[in-house]
C-alpha cells in the first residue's frame, strides 16, 4: 500500500534555482526519510527526520515535517545539474522494519 505521495511528479528548473518537493502521507509515522535515485541506479539516503522534529538541514538540503498536516517538504537550494534525479519520500510507522515509499518526483536541473 502506498503511504507517501510526492508532489509534483516532475519538476524542471534552471541551475542555481531552488527546488521544492512535497510529500503527503496517511498514517502516523515514526520517521520520514528522503532518498535520491539517479537514472538506472539504486536509491541513496539523503536525510531522515523524526516525528518529533520540525526541520532538519544537511548541506544544501532542508527538510520540514508537519505531522498535523501529515506532510513533508524537501528543499534543495542553489541546484546543480548533478542534482538531476528522482527523489522519493519514505515513511516508517511505529517499530515496523518497513519503509513505505512514494512514487517519486523527477527533478531535472538544466545547465
Amino acid at each position: 500500500s502506498q503511504q507517501g505521495e510526492e508532489d509534483p511528479q516532475a519538476l524542471s528548473i534552471q541551475e542555481g534555482e531552488n527546488a521544492t518537493m512535497n510529500c503527503s502521507y496517511k498514517t502516523s509515522i515514526n520517521n520520514l526519510q528522503w532518498y535520491r535515485q539517479n537514472s538506472g541506479r539504486g536509491l541513496v539516503h539523503l536525510i531522515l527526520i523524526r516525528s518529533n522534529e520540525r526541520e532538519k538541514h544537511s548541506g544544501r538540503l532542508r527538510v520540514t515535517l508537519d505531522t498535523s498536516k501529515k506532510s513533508s517538504s524537501l528543499l534543495i537550494t542553489a541546484s546543480r545539474a548533478a542534482d538531476t534525479a528522482s527523489y522519493f519520500c519514505a515513511t516508517m510507522e511505529g517499530s515496523n522494519y518497513k519503509l513505505t515509499f512514494g512514487k517519486g518526483t523527477l527533478l531535472t536541473v538544466n545547465p
Binding site: S1, Q2, Q33, R41, G42, H45, K98
Partner: protein
C-alpha cells in the same frame, strides 16, 4: 562506505524458469529487503529479513520466495518466472534500529521473455 552488491545488472530469462537474484552486503547489517520498481508504481516491498533465517512477507510476495542462510546474503527466488515479473529489482540492507537508513544496491533489471 556500505556496499550492497547485486549479482547482475541485467538478466534475461524465459517464462517458467526458476530465477535467482543474489544480494550481498558487507556491513554486518541485520535487516535486508527486496523491492521491485515499476514505472508509475514506485517501489514495492516483496520480502524482508530481519535476521539470519528470518523472513517476512512484504506487500507483493506472490510468486516469490527468499532465502537468508548467512547474514550477508539475501536471495530472491522467482519460482516459475512469468512476464509480469519483468521489472527492476532492488536489494537494500540496514542495521537494526528505527532511525537507521536503508542502503541500496544498483538494481537488477530482469526481463522475462
Amino acid at each position: 562506505d556500505v556496499k550492497v552488491t547485486q549479482s547482475s545488472r541485467y538478466l534475461v530469462k524465459r517464462t517458467g524458469e526458476k530465477v535467482f537474484l543474489e544480494c550481498v552486503q558487507d556491513m554486518d547489517h541485520e535487516n535486508m529487503f527486496w523491492y521491485r520498481q515499476d514505472p508509475g508504481l514506485g517501489l514495492r516491498l516483496i520480502y524482508f529479513s530481519y535476521d539470519v533465517k528470518m523472513k517476512e512477507k512484504g506487500d507483493i510476495p506472490e510468486g516469490y520466495s527468499v532465502s537468508r542462510e548467512k547474514k550477508e546474503r539475501f536471495s530472491l527466488i522467482l519460482e516459475s518466472a512469468s512476464t509480469n515479473q519483468t521489472s527492476m529489482y532492488l536489494c537494500a540492507s540496514r542495521t537494526q534500529g528505527q532511525g537507521q537508513p536503508q542502503h541500496f544496491g544498483d538494481g537488477t533489471r530482469l526481463s522475462i521473455l
